[in-house]
Symmetry: C4
Subunit: 234 residues, 4 copies
């Protein structure tokens, strides 16, 4: 069942470890098959080295387990909320990569300071507010997804133009057209956050790159898709 | 003798090196078998690559060597004091991992700045005071354990809720239900200290995460155990 | 065709990854055969692990593809402009290595703060200005090369004495007598930028090394070539 | 000839690379056989991966090559001056490891801020002044050794108690009873410099560890040798 998708999700999960985005088991990647509406996600508490496609968990968008013996990642309700809300998302990555997570702990959004950022994210990567006590008690993981949605709605951002968010006091989520693309956006976000922290430490401020270069770099990579290509960054 | 425990202690010691928590031979992991009251610990001055279970040293809680040809780690009296004082501890890790050690050198305790911390430590990781000249001259390694105990008693902290300490001018100790769990707490402490140092360097201050999220995250991982679950973080 | 050059270009591209100068596919190395006027460059979007000499693209200096099934790197027009303008250049490396790229984002040139720098670069590595909107719209990659040329002309720098440039808001280019030498200069630039950022973070300023030591160190490595050896650094 | 010493010198040179103390070929280790007065040192410009004992160069203390086809490291005159001046030195390591080199570029000596330092260096690691223009022109590498000697003489330091120096605007040298011990001191120096830079970046100052703990830690490792054991640090 969904063997090709499982293969991609497995590979992306293993890359989290080999590309040094995570320590221990602090991260997970999922992917969705939009035809069947089924999501493939990392099981909870299995080491990346030993993980096989048969360990992955298949769920429907309501969270019912369709296939798999193991419990899915505890962050599954966040993934599902994003898939339900944004039909254009094909894959999601969550890590505690240290620089992006440090930015979350500082409560800093990530402005576009250079072309590395602009190749992946069109404008500032937003910071989502911390959950209230009621939201935490009610359904922590689901409400994490709800607050991401709230953030993008309030700022009028398109999720495929800015495929990343920093969660205040927590850690980043990234997404993309596929599981592998969400992983690549996690790498880009971590690198840009590392440069942002170095820049703040060395100079005390981050300067935004001029808008016309942001536009050029983003469109150079993503311009074939007219839904992005027509946006002006103001 | 205690082959299963030795296997775990050996693996955790080797992970210190492969997960980049130590340079040269600057670290050691031990584990205890509570039924027999025997402790298994790394020998002094053997490289991690070549270490075998037969190199490990078995001692009783009074420090008598029960099995093993090699000298135990010079930090053994600290380990033994913690095992004698806290029967709930099953494993202990000591490293000079660079970020945690730098925090020790700065004389900084580690506040809970995010969920990565809260998943492992319930509240601030304390800083233990430096030993006095008399304590150093009397029995340096034993008194290191005594000062850890003093720190937790004064602050009214439970060792299984905050399984880590930063020793002023020295380095961290972590512990857990098992040797492997103490290793995982060493990884978490090093990551949180790295983020704390990045945060201080970039912004000059560390902001504590709201208590209701600290509680949720800690209990999400540790709530099954009622002895932790009932504490309110005030 | 040009098998020996291809072998060197392939090796230098793979070293970008193994020596940790790049993430994902954010970098490219090229080399030129001055007898035939042909350039060998990395293809776009092929992973470094799997890349073979048969994947490399051969172009003439006007950008016509002479051999190769794949598209050349999107940065090819920048490489070609440098080869056309400076006949002494034999190889070029472009990366988004994190410390050099962070310096670019800060808008900082790199003064010579020590002998590591002086062994590779004779004096300050310059910062090139951002492209204007007209330059970006007209031909972004070509004009990147034009602005590098403008920078060296204005500052009256010789490209073989200072074989590197930091592009404001973008990333570094380095070059050398060969592809492999351009790679080594990329390593040196990244290391010197890392030390510069550490120095700024720790002390708030960078102090230039006295000129007589700059001269000695540069000439110790490059003095056999009389065209460099006679320059006085003022 | 001197096969055992060559084996140790080779291993220490290869560890420079595998333990990430150097980039490219920026480092060298030597060892001396005091009975014959012969020094074994790394050849210039051979990659660490491919280096064999037969590539190593054997010299007498006056710099005459006794065995070996390749040129010795260009830093050889510095090594020889130290061996001639201090008969207790058995091995020497020179690197451009990034944190120690950044400290050199900052012009900062390294105070003893914790036990990691005290286990290897008894008190502050000194900073040697930059060479004058006359010293540079006369004999740069030899005079580097002379300035190290001047530094230790002026400060009345014993080279075996503080087996390291930071050269202003250049890089560190470390030494020890053997080539391997000089390598271990290079690792310790780099780690302590990394912690010093983190500490300065995070807090703006470095606090020295109380003298009684410095003494205890140093003597715990080196006390068997009475020539150190009787010194009071205050």
């Amino acid at each position: 069942m969904l063997e090709k998708l499982k293969q991609e999700v497995l590979e992306a999960n293993k890359l989290l470890k080999s590309d040094d985005l995570i320590k221990l088991t602090w991260g997970n990647v999922s992917g969705i098959d939009r035809d069947s509406g089924l999501v493939v996600i990392k099981p909870s508490g299995v080491s990346y080295d030993k993980m096989q496609t048969s360990d992955l968990v298949v769920l429907d968008l309501d969270g019912n387990v369709i296939e798999g013996q193991l419990n899915p990642s505890s962050d599954t309700p966040t993934h599902l909320h994003l898939y339900r809300t944004y039909p254009e998302i094909g894959g999601i990555t969550h890590t505690h990569s240290l620089n992006a997570t440090a930015m979350c702990q500082m409560g800093q959004e990530l402005p576009c300071a250079g072309t590395t950022h602009a190749d992946h994210f069109y404008g500032t990567v937003p910071l989502a507010r911390p959950l209230t006590e009621a939201e935490v008690e009610d359904d922590y993981e689901l409400n994490t997804g709800v607050v991401i949605e709230e953030t993008f709605t309030k700022l009028n951002l398109k999720v495929m133009e800015v495929p990343a968010v920093l969660l205040h006091f927590h850690a980043p989520f990234t997404w993309g057209k596929s599981a592998m693309e969400s992983f690549k956006n996690a790498v880009a976000l971590e690198s840009c956050c590392e440069m942002a922290i170095k820049t703040l430490s060395a100079t005390g401020k981050i300067t935004e790159m001029p808008k016309h270069i942001q536009r050029k770099h983003y469109l150079r990579k993503h311009g074939a898709n007219a839904t992005y290509g027509q946006k002006a960054l103001s």
